[in-house]
Symmetry: C2
Subunit: 440 residues, 2 copies
């Protein structure tokens, strides 16, 4: 998903805000990151942004999309422009079931709730399940936009470790045990099994079974967030966790990466009683999700070879992944580590000890390259030596140029480190790396 | 706004729901009404629905809308289908300022936040301001969808009386005094000054000044919800309260009634520091409002005589208002009372003592006419002898036929009452009229 929107400059709560004493307690968890201002700078065209999660939709056939929508207005305009059901357009919900079948899910469209992007699905699920103080278990690292939601509902996030095969089952068991021992209530596990944002890894099939079993035994819901599942480079999609069990799992999907994000159409597939609660929450939040968007996507799916389009997207993203991995191999100092994702948008890169990715960011932006510091993806201040690099949006040439600039910045850091030792304290100042200040 | 969506049948919390012990406390305030099931029946074509708040958009020029959108896809498709700013499309926010100028508001587009319909604006404002137990002062009656939001955030609603000139200033003063005396915190006044939903009345200009002053003195925000302000039948729009003061007022607007609801585009105009909080809340809720919808509306406003279109809408709704008032005058028993709205969608009708509008509803639906019982618009169980009648959607002929059927049902009730006395207890059964069970 997109993250770190840059429309609002970073501000610290101002003593001049006349409403400061009137806000709800939850607003303490709704803070602008101090790196936002930097991202406003990073959006200048001369900066190569390896930061954003914007899909590259330049390959979409505008004539097909435009034709489908013009036809929609002409033949069904008064319905498409009217209020609709809080649950979403029935025909689209049927098509969503066809999409999910590609990952082995057999579901009734009656259990699908359409949302304003899958971001809103995370929001509504949290609204329905979480009281302040409830715990959500997340991978370490986890999606910045979901962490922001959990924080805004005053949840506590407990991270569980990942490795190259995704979430480590024993780490999940340990997190559950420790949380329960502390007398806290876990409401759900939030997990991104495929081409993880930001870690780039994919949960193995064996572990999918194991994690579904662990959560069933422990009575913990799984929130399976799967925006990237159809964007694998080398093989057919793995079975969704929701295909292994229909109980205890809420599955989230999205058209943002397989078609286009500007329509803001995602969905939740939920057990029946939960689905009813989500529809009530959706009606309270928006009355109904955008009817026009839903019918536009439904028309596109009906008239276009959308699976062929996804294949083109996969090839385009693979080329960019290859460009980034090739450039990293060619140019990065030997002490820098990264993974090679099999799909999706992201590479997770770890700097050598002593180099702080957030402290380095202003220098990177000065060198005209941007990334997201690793701390953004943790609720607890970890990740300072890591960063997320996105290869989804820039061209392969720009990606190589961005990595070249970044490698230069890292080299300069390493030279400085070599000369003066660990200078983090000197450069950072106290408190800048406070946990939780940059989850957005 | 639309209300009482009928996609989900009424259900009482089932002991079979395996998740029942895991939901957040706030879900207690997110309940389906027992009248929903009835509305599923009422949506059959043979029933004249005077219940819904759907605008009649059959007059929109589909060729103009389709052309504007086709052009948008062709010339700006990759931008319109991409993620956008959490605050909304800048050009649309400028146009929104032009729309608000028609009601005397001078504002910067920098203080506008685009929302997924103005329903979402109510949700986000409540999210930013209200802790559980906080009080929202609402008119008596008030918009059912807003009451649902306040309940879902565990707010307490305190109603203040209206008369033919809208909210009564002294009633507001009394409500504030009593609430403060009870040691409770009022976060805002929620008010619909123009062509009130459901009461149909309009706040006089004198009272606008007075209410703005009262709230400024008491340090209470005003949430001015204004979806119908441009739909007056007989005169130019009255000045918005926001035009009288830029402090302490959050103004909500919508394109749902002046253009079309299916795009789900509304907005909030807020003091600067509140605007920043709303943008953060929007990003957490949806990342960004639908970009395609926003640019589609922006294109429509740019190429079409949208003010002329609103004039057509006003004439169409006036004709329907006249049809309803004429039919009521011709056919209703003399003991029934109603107001004559100057704009908007709704007539508020009061039955004679002893006739309960909710208890009567099943008989009305059997007679193939539907309305919304008055209790839906109160958080405290009042309104049992009242109902909301909508004239916005059906044709004048259907409106007359609907009123004819309704008059027959009321007459039968009155005969029964005349024969057997007040039979409410007999017919209602215990508990059916519980406060708060049908705010949706």
């Amino acid at each position: 998903m997109e993250s770190l929107p840059s429309s609002v400059p970073a501000r610290h709560p101002s003593v001049l805000d006349p409403y400061v004493d009137r806000y709800a307690a939850r607003t303490a968890g709704m803070t602008a990151s101090e790196i936002r201002a930097l991202f406003a700078v990073a959006s200048r065209p001369e900066v190569v942004s390896l930061a954003g999660g914007m899909p590259n939709i330049s390959g979409l056939p505008l004539d097909v999309v435009g034709g489908a929508i013009a036809d929609l207005v002409a033949t069904q305009g008064p319905v498409a422009m009217q209020y609709g059901s809080g649950q979403g357009v029935p025909e689209l919900r049927e098509q969503i079931c066809e999409v999910m079948r590609l990952e082995g899910i057999r579901a009734s469209s009656d259990d699908v709730v359409v949302t304003v992007g899958s971001q809103q699905a995370v929001d509504l699920v949290t609204r329905v399940f979480c009281d302040p103080g409830d715990v959500v278990v997340c991978e370490a690292p986890s999606y910045v936009g979901a962490l922001g939601v959990f924080k805004s509902y005053q949840c506590e996030v407990v991270h569980a470790e990942m490795d190259a095969d995704g979430l480590v089952p024993q780490a999940l068991r340990n997190a559950i045990r420790a949380t329960k021992a502390a007398g806290k209530t876990i409401k759900f596990l939030y997990t991104i099994p495929n081409f993880h944002n930001p870690a780039g890894v994919t949960l193995s099939v064996e572990r999918r079974h194991e994690i579904v079993e662990i959560c069933a035994e422990e009575g913990i819901l799984i929130l399976e967030d799967n925006p990237y599942g159809l964007l694998g480079f080398d093989r057919d999609p793995l079975p969704a966790m929701r295909s292994l069990s229909s109980d205890n799992i809420i599955y989230l999907g999205s058209f943002s990466k397989t078609f286009a994000p500007g329509f803001r159409v995602g969905w939740a597939l939920a057990p029946h009683s939960v689905r009813e609660k989500l529809v009530l929450a959706q009606e309270s939040a928006t009355l109904c999700p955008p009817q026009f968007s839903q019918m536009a996507i439904s028309s596109y799916l009906a008239v276009h070879d959308w699976q062929g389009q996804i294949k083109q997207f996969r090839e385009m993203y693979r080329e960019r992944r290859d460009a980034m991995i090739g450039a990293l191999s060619d140019m990065m100092p030997a002490s820098v580590r990264w993974n090679v994702p099999d799909g999706g948008f992201y590479v997770w890169l770890t700097l050598p000890p002593g180099v702080n990715a957030k402290a380095m960011l202003p220098r990177a932006v000065t060198a005209r390259v941007a990334y997201v510091p690793g701390t953004a993806f943790f609720a607890d201040g970890f990740g300072s030596s890591a960063m997320r690099l996105s290869y989804c949006y820039p061209t392969p040439e720009r990606i190589r140029e961005g990595v070249r600039r970044l490698a230069g910045v890292v080299e300069a850091e390493l030279e400085l480190l070599d000369t003066f030792g660990d200078t983090r304290e000197l450069r950072l100042g106290a408190g800048l790396d406070n946990p939780g200040t940059d989850v957005r």
